[in-house]
Subunit: 271 residues, 2 copies
């Protein structure tokens, strides 16, 4: 796992990071897979008339790591793909605040029409993600296409980006905690501020932290925005091992809280 | 103004439209300009390595009809544009419900770097739309680019689409009512249901309408979703002339209400 894969820490070049940057965190391939699994629409880029790149709005579903589309033979993008299969799919995270701070991924490859013998599994995956497309899925002019990903460009926000190989994209899996993350953040921030301050004091170099807010949780650990005398700073804490469910997150959070209290109790002055 | 420009009515092929489809309504060029003026982000499609079309997430601002970008020389899209200026920008409407029912427009053309003598106006337009970009707008590696639009593809939803020429794109203007539309809809639907039923009965072929909801308003008129014994149907009513402000919309709504009541009063049975 290279620095390139993990991006640069967000403390800024002039500030020393308050935690060990080598603790496990999601790779860019994993972040890209997680993002793509959470957003059902994107921009399909094809080669149009005159060789101009042409962007169109599409719905898609991921079959393992392969994007599937249900598109009409009458649509520009389909005509374009029939003439030249080179394509890309941009998937961008939704959200508030500075749009350039949000994540996005471009999947680059070749689009191929799904053959008759592969149609049923593609149809099942697509309709599970887009039930309302059932009414036109079997129209004569509509067909399933898939994008055979050859590389992926992940941008996690400012200065946090890299190319991901097809192998890394394929091998990565979406974060199993992602669907529960918002609920975990809400719960921790509402009821466990004191515990998060204990994590911060025990596991990071922020002894004067006055507040800690949980801002992200993934299978490998969690990240807090910590209020320090020098301003807000990120602190990441790793789980003992990768987790697979919200229940396992809870068990890790409890175990880490016990460890943090033991560390703090052993320190002169209890912090 | 051709049928192609205005798209097909949404009543479905088997149902007769309840209003005169030739009454004024926004052209596709106008709808596309209105949409683009309301969304500050899009997908820039460029030609990447190996000739693959490459989609990237960008912020943009419109200078008259010309999209402006502030992009870094280090970014993939900028490298791509320096090698080949052919590009497109997809702008998609945000919203709820079926994503394919929402509007989007693809602007196709060539991207050129803004020259030193044009930089100040471009900078002013861009920063007005994206104030938070001020902190990097003057970084050495960032520059302003513009997309010289050669054609535009507008898709207003299912079966409502056309190519728009550069001339039509340039000549069109964003709808002046768009920024007030949500407020007008809310007010009319909260307080003036009875008036909308009067519009419906007087101006459309829906004598048995039991409810009418305002779903869109633009400079040329407004559209209601009308409850009929056969289900919900669209009814459009035109203003006497194009309006320029929410105040003028109000005056037109009042004038039309008076006309509707006069028409209904003159009918046998008052409806």
């Amino acid at each position: 796992m290279s620095e390139e894969q993990h991006g640069s820490p967000r403390g800024g070049p002039s500030q020393e990071l308050l935690y060990d940057p080598t603790i496990p965190s999601p790779t860019h391939a994993e972040r890209a897979r997680t993002l793509s699994a959470s957003v059902p629409t994107g921009t399909l880029c094809t080669l149009g008339a005159g060789g101009y790149p042409y962007g169109s709005f599409v719905t898609f579903a991921l079959h393992d790591g392969t994007p599937l589309f249900l598109i009409s033979a009458l649509a520009e993008h389909t005509k374009n793909l029939k003439a030249d299969p080179r394509a890309s799919l941009l998937v961008a995270e939704a959200g508030e605040g500075d749009p350039l701070a949000r994540g996005r991924v471009t999947l680059v490859g070749r689009a191929v029409q799904v053959e008759a013998h592969d149609r049923e599994p593609a149809r099942a995956v697509f309709l599970a993600a887009h039930p309302s497309s059932a009414y036109y899925a079997d129209f004569k002019d509509f067909g399933f296409w898939r994008l055979e990903v050859e590389s992926a460009r992940y941008i996690g926000g400012f200065g946090r980006m890299s190319w991901v190989t097809a192998e890394a994209w394929s091998a990565a899996s979406p974060d199993p905690i992602a669907p529960s993350a918002a609920g975990i953040l809400e719960h921790m921030n509402a009821d466990h501020k004191e515990t998060m301050l204990e994590y911060t004091r025990a596991f990071s170099r922020a002894p004067d932290a006055s507040d800690a807010e949980l801002v992200a949780v993934d299978r490998y650990g969690f990240e807090m925005a910590v209020a320090t005398p020098e301003g807000p700073r990120p602190v990441r804490v790793a789980f003992h091992a990768a987790v697979e469910s919200a229940d396992e997150v809870r068990r890790e959070m409890i175990a880490l809280a016990k460890e943090a209290r033991a560390i703090l109790a052993a320190r002169p002055g209890g912090r």
